[in-house]
Symmetry: C2
Subunit: 147 residues, 2 copies
Amino acid sequence: MNIDNLNWKILKCLQQNARMSSAAIGRQIGITSPAVSERIKKMEDAEIIQGYTTFVSPFEAGYQLKALITLRAFMGMLKPFLEKVKTYDEVVNCYRITGNENIVMEVVLKNQKHLESFIDQLISYGETKTQIVLSHVVKHSEIKPLK
Amino acid sequence: MNIDNLNWKILKCLQQNARMSSAAIGRQIGITSPAVSERIKKMEDAEIIQGYTTFVSPFEAGYQLKALITLRAFMGMLKPFLEKVKTYDEVVNCYRITGNENIVMEVVLKNQKHLESFIDQLISYGETKTQIVLSHVVKHSEIKPLK
DNA sequence: AGTGAAAGTGATATACG
DNA sequence: CGTATATCACTTTCACT
């Protein structure tokens, strides 16, 4: 399925505010709300739109630390880790990557003690490297059309 | 502002589907829709809720490669980079981190050629390390209450 | 802080260019 | 693929608790 100009305008609106009504989107781009709703539904069915989420402030939720943790899995420990990682509340994102290191995780933590106990849970799976996040410079910037 | 049990239930719904109506949330958690709307507005004002977004498939949008790029900025080049990075369409996330390396970016790219030209744009700011993302194992998992 | 009711607005289905 | 209309659902406001 192709993403035409109108759909890109809809995606721009929805990426900026997923709770925007079809009517409001329609007013901005110059079509009626049923037309917007139909286009959204088709993009959902085609999995161009993969879902809608809410950004909850980790800080306000009590997570005062953010870190990137890189894991170099021990022999035979990557597969068990890929299952286990889904169960950790601390892991917001987890990427499997090429190279000597296998995994990069974005994690949220209460404090240094929590970081320590979290890393302790990882040591059976492999060697870890921890980088504390000082600031989230670009946050989920929107996907734009290729030039 | 505190996040009580009811607000956590609302946040759970909204993190799973930001387009869920207040009425539908109310039915699930046992309060009326005006009560839900009011709680949502208060969490927005308190910046517990930082926004609502839509996941657009980078693949469907023509970005067939995802990578993590680490930057070790040259002396005096970090600040200019922190401004410049906001203008790159390829950068979905950018973190400033502790350690010898200053920056980790999650980037989406059309193909290897695009990766090459993107890295070329970075070399004036510092040394880069590129890790291709094989799979996004955990994708924006929801923020949950601390135990 | 939550309910219930009224008014306005939005969503959805259908018929039609 | 879009509009127009009608019906139903949702949101918002407000008086009340």
